[in-house]
C-alpha cells in the first residue's frame, strides 16, 4: 500500500498556491493539507517544489476531481496512471474522489455532474471504484455529491447507494457535510436524518465549505456548492451534530474560489478544530 499513515483526526486545509510561501515560513499548527490532484499533474515547477516541501511537514490528502467515477464511459487509463504517479511520489495519507461524472466524448466539463441511482449505475460505479483501487493500490474514499436536480429513474436512496458501494468495493466514504446540507435543502429532505442514516463506520474524512444561495423557478431555496465563503452557520451546526455520531475524524475546510488570505482560512480551520476538541471530550484533550 503506497499510502502513508492515516490522516490525523484533526482539522486540515486545502493548499492554495497563494499561501505556499507563508505556510513554509510559519508552519502553522494544522492536522494536514489537501490538494486537488489535477493541479499537480504538470511535469515540474513551483507547484511540485512547494508540495514536496510542505508535504515533508504535514500529512497530505490527495483529492481527485477529474476521474469521472460516475461516468458511463470507461475510466481514463492515462488519468489513473497520473494519479498513481502522484501517489508514489508523495505517499499521501489518503486518496479521495467524487460520486459524480465530468468527462464525456465531447470533452471535460470541469464540474461534478449528477447521476441517477439505479441498480445499473450502482454496478457501474462499483466496477469503477474497484478499478481505481486496483490501479492505484489504495483504499479510496468516495465523497457524497451536492446536487441540483433529481432523476425520475432513480430507485435507490443516496445513502443506500453510498453504503452499497462501500460494502461491495471496500472503499471508505468522505462525508461532505456542506454537500449534505446543499442537497437536503435542494431536494426538501432533512439533513439531520441524512447524517443519522449515513454509514458512519466507513467515514474516513469530513469536508466543510461555504455554499451560495439562490432560488429555483418556483422561487424555492436553491443552494449552490460554491466553496467561496466561510462555513455557513447551519452547516457548522450540522457538523457538530455529525461529530457526535462519528467521533473525531480528519476534517477539511474547503475554500477554492475567491480564496481569502491565509489568516482568514486558518481561522476557519480553528473553528473546526475547536468542535473536534469538544467532540473528543476532556480526557482526550488533556492527553494531546
Amino acid at each position: 500500500m503506497p499510502l502513508s499513515a492515516p490522516l490525523p483526526h484533526r482539522a486540515g486545509l486545502g493548499l492554495k498556491p497563494e499561501h505556499y510561501a507563508q505556510i513554509l515560513e510559519h508552519k502553522p499548527e494544522l492536522g494536514f493539507f489537501e490538494v486537488h490532484a489535477e493541479n499537480y499533474m504538470g511535469a515540474g515547477g513551483p507547484p511540485h517544489h512547494y508540495l514536496e516541501a510542505i508535504s515533508a511537514h504535514y500529512p497530505l490528502s490527495l483529492h481527485g476531481v477529474g476521474l469521472s467515477i460516475g461516468g458511463e464511459n470507461p475510466l481514463d487509463k492515462e488519468h489513473l496512471k497520473r494519479l498513481r504517479f502522484l501517489i508514489e511520489k508523495y505517499s499521501p495519507a489518503s486518496f479521495s474522489e467524487h460520486l459524480a461524472w465530468s468527462t464525456h466524448d465531447s470533452g471535460y466539463f470541469n464540474d461534478l455532474l449528477p447521476l441517477p441511482y439505479t441498480q445499473a449505475t450502482l454496478d457501474q460505479v462499483c466496477a469503477h471504484v474497484s478499478e481505481v483501487q486496483d490501479a492505484l493500490g489504495v483504499r479510496m474514499l468516495l465523497e457524497n455529491p451536492s446536487t441540483y436536480v433529481l432523476f425520475e429513474e432513480s430507485t435507490i436512496d443516496e445513502i443506500d447507494f453510498m453504503a452499497a458501494i462501500a460494502q461491495r468495493t471496500g472503499c471508505g466514504l468522505l462525508l461532505d457535510v456542506n454537500n449534505v446540507m446543499v442537497s437536503a435543502v435542494n431536494h426538501k429532505r432533512d439533513p439531520y436524518a441524512y447524517i443519522e442514516a449515513y454509514p458512519i463506520d466507513e467515514v474516513g474524512e469530513i469536508h466543510l465549505a461555504g455554499y451560495d444561495e439562490t432560488q429555483d423557478s418556483a422561487g424555492e431555496r436553491l443552494l449552490i456548492d460554491a466553496h467561496g465563503s466561510a462555513i455557513r452557520p447551519d452547516v457548522f451546526e450540522l457538523f457538530v451534530f455529525t461529530l457526535k455520531r462519528t467521533g473525531p475524524k480528519p476534517v477539511l475546510v474547503e475554500w477554492d474560489n475567491d480564496v481569502p488570505d491565509f489568516d482568514t482560512l486558518y481561522a476557519e480551520s480553528r473553528r473546526a478544530q475547536a468542535a473536534l476538541d469538544a467532540a473528543a471530550g476532556p480526557d482526550v484533550k488533556a492527553a494531546q
Binding site: M41, G44, G45, F109, L113, V149, F151, E153, N186, S217
Partner: protein, 256 residues
C-alpha cells in the same frame, strides 16, 4: 416507466442553452426546473472562463473584465478541455483571439496572450538544471560553433512585432504607466531557478536567439545576426545562457 437520462443527453443539454432539459431530469416538486439545470450549465461555463482569466491575467486587464468574459465565453463554447488536467486549458486561446473580430482593434492582444501561455508552460515544465557557462567552456571552439543548443524544458521564446514584453511588464503591478516602447520585441520566458522569469532579449540578438531555438548550429545562427552593426554572437550567447535559455548541448553536432 420513467425516462432514463443518458449522459449523452445530459452533456448535449449542458453544451447548448437553447436545448430543453433532458426528459427524466426532475426536482423534488416532481417537475423539471430549467433554473436548476442551469446551475450545471453555469458551473461549467463560469469555471472554464475563470480558468482562462487565471491563465491570461494581462490579456484580461488589457480588454477589461466584461470584454474578457464575453470573449472567453465564446471560446469556451467552442473549446472544451480535452483532459481533466486543466493546467494547459487555453492553449489555443491566443489563436482564437487573433481571429476574434471584436478584439481586432488591439492587434497586440494575441501576442500578449501567447506570452502568457508561454509563462504557464514554463511554470509547469519539467525541472532540469540549465546549461551553464562552464558547460560551454568545456567544448572546443570549433566543436561549439558546430553545436546546437537544446532549449531548456521551461524556456519559450515569444517573438512579436509589438512590444509585448513591455506591455506584459507594465501590467504586473497595480499602476500602469504610459509605454515608451513602440518596436517589436522578442521575449524569453524561462525558469532558471525557482521562479519563472520574463526577459526582453536585446533587439540585436533576437534573430540569433530565434535561430538557436529553431535548432540551427551556433555558427549558422550567428550568421543571422552578423549583418547588424554591433552584433556579437559570443556576448549574445553568454546573455542567453545566463537567462537559463538552454538545457543541454545537443549530441547531434552535424552542420545543417
Amino acid at each position: 416507466m420513467s425516462a432514463a437520462v443518458s449522459q449523452d443527453a445530459f452533456a448535449a443539454a449542458l453544451a447548448d442553452p437553447a436545448r430543453a432539459l433532458p426528459a427524466g431530469v426532475t426536482s423534488a416538486r416532481g417537475a423539471p426546473d430549467p433554473l436548476r439545470f442551469a446551475v450545471y450549465r453555469n458551473n461549467v461555463h463560469v469555471s472554464l472562463v475563470e480558468a482562462l482569466a487565471k491563465g491570461f491575467p494581462v490579456t484580461r486587464r488589457l480588454v477589461g473584465d466584461e470584454f474578457f468574459k464575453a470573449m472567453a465565453r465564446v471560446y469556451v463554447g467552442k473549446t472544451k478541455p480535452a483532459s481533466p488536467v486543466m493546467l494547459f486549458y487555453g492553449d489555443s486561446f491566443p489563436d482564437f483571439i487573433a481571429g476574434f473580430e471584436p478584439a481586432a482593434g488591439l492587434p497586440y492582444l494575441p501576442d500578449v496572450a501567447r506570452l502568457e501561455y508561454a509563462w504557464t508552460q514554463s511554470y509547469h515544465a519539467a525541472d532540469a538544471p540549465p546549461l551553464g557557462l562552464s558547460d560551454v567552456a568545456r567544448i572546443a571552439p570549433d566543436a561549439l560553433a558546430a553545436a546546437r543548443l537544446e532549449p531548456h524544458p521551461a524556456a519559450r521564446l515569444v517573438r512579436s512585432s509589438f512590444p509585448v514584453g513591455a506591455i506584459w511588464a507594465a501590467h504586473q503591478g497595480d499602476a500602469v504607466g504610459r509605454l515608451a516602447e513602440k518596436a517589436g520585441q522578442t521575449v524569453l520566458v524561462a525558469r532558471p531557478g525557482a521562479e519563472v522569469r520574463v526577459t526582453v532579449i536585446p533587439a540585436i540578438d533576437a534573430d540569433f536567439a530565434a535561430a538557436l531555438f529553431a535548432g540551427f548550429t551556433i555558427n549558422d545562427a550567428s550568421l543571422t545576426g552578423a549583418a547588424a552593426a554591433g552584433f556579437d554572437a559570443g556576448r549574445a550567447l553568454v546573455g542567453l545562457i545566463g537567462l537559463g535559455a538552454f538545457g543541454a548541448i545537443s549530441r547531434e553536432q552535424t552542420r545543417r
